[in-house]
Structure formats: structure tokens, C-alpha cells
Amino acid sequence: MEVVQIQRRLVDYTKSLFMEGFLDGQFLQLQQLQDESNPDFVVEVVSLFFDDSEKLLNELTIALDQPNVDFKKVDGHVHQLKGSSSSIGAQRVKNVCIAFRNFCEVQNIEGCLTCLQQVKQEYYLVKNKLETLFRLEQQIVASGGSIPMIEMGF
């Protein structure tokens, strides 16, 4: 496929991620921070996010599996996840975390379990999407093109 086509696909794909709410403006901020002195910033931060989140999700699963759930601990993990996801602009993950924290506050185990399910789902979805995005970027770079800037005008 021609470089121009991949670039267009990348732009369309990125736009769709914003339209569907997977990513918000914070992600654009990250892209803005990436430059020649730090060319892989976004990928690095997102990888960090992936590692962090998988660990947190594991912890959460274990914590909620206990007979006596330590809600403070759960809240702490969710808070971390919320912070990470909001830092990279993973909007949907962050939104589920907000709901999750509410359930922790009222110590609603059912709600928490549902939210855990949801947050895992959203996380895997956004992970998938971001990996696709990075793959497209790699394709473009490999073909000698440059990553197009996304303009959020209409």
C-alpha cells in the first residue's frame, strides 16, 4: 500500500478513536510533546501505561476475590489506574474508574465486580486500538513517510 494511503488510514483511524471516545485531548498533548529529542515518547508512555494497568488489574482481581474485601486497597488501585489512564487520554477507561471508585466508597461488592469487568474490557479495547495505531505509524515510518499531524478542526 502506498505511503499516502497508510497515512490517510492512520488519520482516519485516529479520528475515529477520538469520535468514539476511546481517546481524548490528552492523547493529543502527548503527541505534541513528542519531537526529535524524544521521538518515541508516546510509545514509551503508552507501554508504561500498559504495564502499569496490567499489574493493577491483576491486583484488583486478587483483591476483589478475597472473602473480606479491603476496599481501601481496591480504591487505591483504581485511583492509580484512573490517574494513568487520564494521563495518556484513555477516556473510557478513566470514566469506568470514576464509577468504580464510587462503588468502592459505598463498599458495593457487586458494583465493584461489574466495574472490574468493564474496566478490563475497556482496557483491552483501548490497548488493541493503540497497538493498531502504532503499527500503522511503524508502517509509515518504514515506508519512508512521516507521521501526519492530526488536526481536530472540522
Binding site: 477520538f18 469520535m19 481524548d24 485531548g25 490528552q26 493529543l28 498533548q29 502527548l30 505534541q32 510533546l33 519531537d35 524524544n38 515518547f41 514509551e44 508512555v45 508504561l48 501505561f49 502499569d52 480504591d75 487505591g76 485511583h79 492509580q80 484512573k82 490517574g83 494513568s84 487520564s86 494521563s87 495518556i88 487520554g89 481536530m152 478542526g153 472540522f154
Partner: protein, 654 residues
């Protein structure tokens, strides 16, 4: 002897008796024989007739077939005459067609003569009316004008029959209707039997003639329809060719015009720029008062000319639709502020009071062509200022709702509500000289200037409103002017469609856009800062953000590490405090302890996603110097740092 006589007498008697019986029988036999013979002869005759009829019927079928097999009028008529002549063994057969005027019948076709001379006969002869009034074949006198085909006196023809042939038009064929035979034009077919035979017109022959006449009518109408459609098609083809030519000419003209414009664009602007630039430079030099006046006039005039050139070029691009809007997200409030700033000097010189009011629910940011929207507002406001000698100008902007248009004078304009667009309505009211109602339609036409205003205000090019109208139309809007009359001021109103920017950030876009202030630092090269954040991802992002701004960033992941690392070299400590378990109060107070002198102490700024007042109050209480809401954009961080370093405190509005 007597026995012989007696016997003879006996035989005679018997014979006589017998004869009395036999003779009537004989006679009856004879008569029957005669009768049967007659009958046979009659039947023979009838057979002959039937056979003839059948033949004639066959001829008719053949004739019909012949006629219908062609769509050429002449062939149809020729064939009819020929076949009829043959079938019925006619002496002469002729067809009279009505002339264009409809007042005469013209001899069009005959059997014997190849090119009949154009005999004409008036159509309203009684005999003709008689024939036309019925659909039967009518016997007419051989002496009537239509039957006299050769110079009179030469031939005496046999019996003559005439029949009408209806000429059907396109309009007679209604859909799903049989053609009505009421308002008709008829042709006349005249058939003449040979004079030398004692033949007479038989009924079946007349019937044949009537049938043929009908068939001919149908065939003729088909042919007429075909002729019509051929003519229409030819006409269309001609029109197509003409249109094509016109289109090509237009395209050539447009291309020529565009080429011209492209050249003139550059050619005209270059000297213009030179004049303006050099005049401005000249202004900066030492000049005598007269010289200064002259230079100012030169500058003003050339600016005017430059504007005119731009307007003309813009307008021609607008006219042929090649102008596209430059869409982008921009600050709507800033546009109005800018217009106000530009117009205030002129207005204050004229002692006009200008007021701007923007409704609260007007979105701060919009998507559209900022430059051209500003141009439009500026033009409208500029006109208001230009045409007002005293009083006030009021500019109001609000979001137009469909109901609000009901009473205005723009009934054709439709507001189409949608989720990501809104309609901006701007009203500029002035207390100037007003416009009389009959002049209002001319306002938006190019170069058409109001006579009275032209003399008073020679500065207008007459293009401004025309361009505004084009821009407004491009923005799917409407612009119009209302005025009570001369001397009563006027109100210019326009509505344009702008997009609502997608909810990109939870924070607003940079809230201090373009106003350059000298004391803002845009890069903070080498500014040493410390970032404390337990969340690895968030820490990495904040670090990169600050590094991008030129800071020298150190990061720690816990409060204790922070206390260990912090030194007087750090100018700012960013502390992420929405992480529960971080004893931000403890850390803050320890930092305060560590650096007794205020000048040495780094500024402590909280980074939090909590938007409640309590958090802010807490931060202030425990001795933090600032609070920033997460997520932080690059621009925001830049301006926040500037503010912080300048004022030594910054608590972002929650």
C-alpha cells in the same frame, strides 16, 4: 270390326284419362326444371360475388399491410391509391388534402397523373360538407369540382364515390383514451369507376373504401408522430451542440479570467506593497509638516487602493465559487474583542459610543473561518461607524434560535438545528443617517453606492457589503439590513452557521491566546524542578511536559524520596496530591521547615484532578503556593509556570 272400334275407343278413353293426369305432372316437372335452372344460375352468380368479395377482402388485407408497413407519408398515400385502383379497377383515384389555412382542399395525389397540378377547391362546398359529415362513402356527382380532374369535357367518368379520411394529430391521442373524432381535419378521397363499363358501386365496395380510409388515417397519424419525434430529436441535438459550445466558451472565458487574475494579483499587489512599505518608512523620517501630510495622504490612499484590489480579487474568487472557507477552531469572544479594539479609535474620534454585549450562552469557542468572520463583523461595524455622525453603535451577539427568526424580514432563511452546529446572530445598530426602504435591496450589489452617501463618504468602494454577503452565504447564513428610514439609523443583522468544537479536553483550550505581554517567559531554560508523582505514567507525562518547556526535571515516586532530593536549587516542586496515602501536608510542612528563608524555598504546586473547593482550600491552608488541575496541556503549563514565577502564587480557578 266393332271390337277394333271398341278397343280403339277404350284406348282413347284411357289415354284421355291418363293424359288428364300426366299433362299437369309434365307441366309441373317442366316448371320445376326451369325453376331449378334459374336457381342454379343465381347461386352461381352469388358464388361469383362471394369469391370476388373474398378476393377483395384479401386485397384489403394486403393493402392494409402495405400501408402499415411504411411510416413514410407519401408511400402510404401512393400505395393506397395504387392498390385501391387495382382492387376495384378504378378509372381514377384522387386524394385531396386540406391546405395549411384549412380553407381549401388541394389535390395532392392521383393515380393516373404523376404530378398533379395544384388544383384547389374551397372546403366549404356543400357536397364536401356532406361527405365530411359522415364516415360512410358517399356517392357524388361526376360533375362536382372534386371529380373533375381532367379538363372538362374530355372524359365522362362513371360513378364517383368520395370518402373522408380523418387526419389525426398528436393532441388527439390522450392517454388511455380513444382519439376523439370531433374537431377534425379531413382529407378527401375520390374514387371513380371507369366510364365505359356499366358498373355501379356495390355496397361491399363502399364498405371496403370506408375501411381503407380508416386504415389510411391511422397510418398517416403514425407517420405524423414519427415526423414530430424526428423533428424534436433534431432540435434537441442542435440545442445540445449549441449548449456544448456555450459551455466551452464559458470555460475558456473563466480560465482566461483566472489567468488574468492570477497575473494581476501579483502584478498589482507588488507595486502596492512597495508604495505602502516605503511610505510607512518615509513617515518615520524627518519631515516638514506639509511633507508629513502628503505622506499620510499617500499612505491612506494606497491602503485604500490595496483594500480595493483585495476586495475585487476576493470577490471574483467568491463569484465563481472557488473560494473555500478556512475552517478552524477559534475563540469567538476574542474575535469580538479584536473588532472592538480596532474600531474604538475611529469611533472615539467621531465621539461615537460603541458597546458590545455577548450573551452568556454564546459558546466561547467555535469552528469556522475566523479571518473572514472577523472581516464580516468589521465591515458591518465599520459601515455603522462610517455612516453615523453622532450617537452610539451597539453590537450584540447571541445564539439564534429558530423562533427568533419568525418576526424578522428573512422569511426564506431556514435554521436547521443540529448537534454540532449553532447559529451565531450578530446585530449592529447605529444611530446614523439610515437608509430609505427602496435603497435597501441595492445595498448588497456590487459597486452600487447610495448617491447621497457616496458624496459624503468617498472612502467606500461599494464592495464591502457584497463581499460580506458572499462570506455569509458561504457560512450558510443570511445577512440583511433593517432601517426605519432616512435619519432613523439602521440595524445590520447577520446569522452564520458555526461549528461547535468537539469536546476535546476537559480543560479549555489555552485561555490566553495571542496577546503578547513582554514579561511572559516562553521558555524556562534550565529551570530546575522536582516532580513527585506516585503514578508512573502520570509522572512520565508531567516530566516530558516540563522538559519540553526547557526545564531540568527530576522525578521522585514518593514523599520521602521527595524530601530527600529536594534542594534550594529546585525552583518548583510539583506534587501530585490526588493519590491517597501521600501525606501532602506532612511533606509540605517539612519543606517549609527545611527552607526557612522564603527566597530559597522552592514553590510547592499541587497537581490534582480534584475539582472541589475543599481540595483547594486544603492546599492553601497547608502552605502550598499553587494548584493546577490535571490533565495539563502544554500551553497551560507554559502559561501557568510564567504566572507562577512572576507572582509567586497561582491558584487555578476551580
Amino acid at each position: 270390326m266393332t271390337t277394333a272400334k271398341v278397343l280403339t275407343a277404350l284406348v282413347s278413353c284411357i289415354t284421355a284419362l291418363m293424359l288428364v293426369h300426366i299433362i299437369p305432372d309434365l307441366l309441373s316437372v317442366k316448371t320445376r326444371e326451369l325453376f331449378l335452372k334459374n336457381k342454379a344460375a343465381e347461386l352461381d352468380r352469388e358464388m361469383g360475388l362471394i369469391r370476388t368479395q373474398e378476393e377483395i377482402g384479401r386485397h384489403v388485407r394486403m393493402l392494409t399491410h402495405e400501408i402499415r408497413s411504411t411510416l413514410d407519408r407519401h408511400t402510404i398515400l401512393r400505395t393506397t391509391l395504387v392498390e385501391l385502383g387495382r382492387t376495384l379497377s378504378l378509372e381514377e383515384c384522387a386524394l385531396w388534402m386540406p391546405t395549411r389555412t384549412g380553407l381549401e382542399l388541394q389535390l395532392s395525389y392521383t393515380l393516373r397523373q404523376q404530378n398533379p397540378v395544384g388544383y384547389t377547391v374551397p372546403i366549404h362546398l356543400p357536397v364536401i360538407n356532406q361527405v365530411f359529415s359522415t364516415n360512410h362513402a358517399v356517392k357524388i356527382s361526376p360533375n362536382c369540382p372534386v371529380a373533375r380532374l381532367r379538363p372538362a369535357g374530355k372524359y365522362v367518368t362513371g360513378e364517383v364515390v368520395a370518402v373522408r379520411v380523418p387526419l389525426l394529430h398528436l393532441s388527439n391521442f390522450h392517454i388511455n383514451d380513444w382519439p376523439e373524432l370531433s374537431t377534425k381535419r379531413y382529407a378527401l378521397m375520390v374514387l371513380m369507376l371507369p366510364s365505359d363499363s356499366a358498373r355501379q358501386w356495390h355496397v361491399h365496395e363502399l364498405e371496403l373504401v370506408e375501411v381503407v380510409a380508416d386504415q389510411v388515417a391511422v397510418a398517416l397519424s403514425h407517420a405524423a408522430i414519427l415526423e414530430e419525434s424526428m423533428r424534436a430529436r433534431n432540435l434537441l441535438m442542435e440545442q445540445n451542440v449549441a449548449l456544448d459550445l456555450a459551455r466551452r466558451e464559458a470555460e475558456t472565458a473563466i480560465r482566461a479570467r483566472n489567468d488574468f487574475l492570477a497575473v494581476m494579483n501579483h502584478e498589482m499587489r507588488t507595486p502596492m506593497h512597495a508604495i505602502i512599505a516605503l511610505s510607512s518608512l518615509l513617515q518615520e523620517t524627518e519631515l516638514t509638516p506639509e511633507q508629513r501630510l502628503m505622506v499620510e495622504t499617500i499612505l491612506k490612499s494606497s491602503n485604500l487602493l490595496a483594500t480595493l484590489i483585495n476586495d475585487v480579487l476576493d470577490l471574483s474568487r467568491l463569484e465563481d465559487g472557488s473560494l473555500k472557507l478556512d475552517l478552524g477552531t477559534f475563540n469567538l469572544y476574542a474575535v469580538f474583542r479584536e473588532v472592538l479594539k480596532l474600531i474604538k479609535p475611529i469611533a472615539s474620534v467621531k465621539k461615537l459610543h460603541v458597546s458590545l454585549s455577548l450573551v452568556p450562552d454564546l459558546p466561547e469557542y467555535a469552528v469556522g473561518d475566523e479571518k473572514r468572520l472577523m472581516q464580516t463583523i468589521l465591515n458591518v461595524v465599520g459601515n455603522a461607524v462610517k455612516f453615523s455622525k453622532e450617537g452610539s453603535i451597539s453590537i450584540t451577539a447571541f445564539v439564534a434560535k429558530p423562533e427568533s427568526l419568525r418576526d424578522s424580514r428573512a422569511p426564506e432563511f431556514l435554521l436547521v438545528p443540529s448537534d454540532n452546529h449553532f447559529y451565531l446572530r450578530v446585530q449592529v445598530k447605529d444611530s446614523g443617517c439610515g437608509i430609505s426602504p427602496q435603497d435597501i435591496p441595492k445595498l448588497f450589489t456590487k459597486f452600487a453606492q447610495n448617491q447621497s452617501t457616496a458624496t459624503r463618504n468617498p472612502g467606500g468602494s461599494g464592495l464591502g457589503l457584497a463581499i460580506c454577503k458572499r462570506f455569509v452565504n458561504l457560512m450558510e447564513g443570511h445577512i440583511w439590513i433593517e432601517s426605519e428610514g432616512l435619519g432613523k439609523g439602521c440595524t445590520a443583522i447577520f446569522i452564520v452557521k458555526l461549528g461547535i468544537p468537539e469536546h476535546m479536553n476537559h480543560t479549555k483550550l489555552p485561555y490566553m491566546p495571542k496577546m503578547p505581554t513582554n514579561h511572559r517567559q516562553t521558555t524556562f531554560s534550565g529551570l530546575k524542578v522536582l516532580v513527585m508523582d506516585e503514578n508512573g505514567v502520570s509522572r512520565a507525562v508531567t516530566k516530558e511536559l516540563l522538559t519540553h518547556l526547557g526545564c531540568d526535571v527530576a522525578t521522585v515516586g514518593s514523599g520521602d524520596e521527595c524530601l530527600q532530593l529536594v534542594s534550594h536549587e529546585h525552583k518548583v516542586v510539583f506534587m501530585d496530591i490526588c493519590v491517597p496515602g501521600t501525606d501532602s501536608q506532612r511533606i509540605t510542612s517539612r519543606i517549609h521547615e527545611k527552607f526557612a528563608k522564603r527566597s530559597e524555598r522552592p514553590l510547592i504546586v499541587a497537581l490534582t484532578g480534584n475539582t472541589d473547593k475543599l481540595t483547594k482550600e486544603n492546599c492553601m491552608r497547608i502552605g502550598m503556593d499553587g494548584l493546577i488541575l490535571k490533565p495539563v496541556s502544554l500551553d497551560k503549563m507554559r502559561s501557568v509556570l510564567s504566572d507562577l514565577l512572576e507572582h509567586r502564587v497561582l491558584f487555578e480557578a476551580l
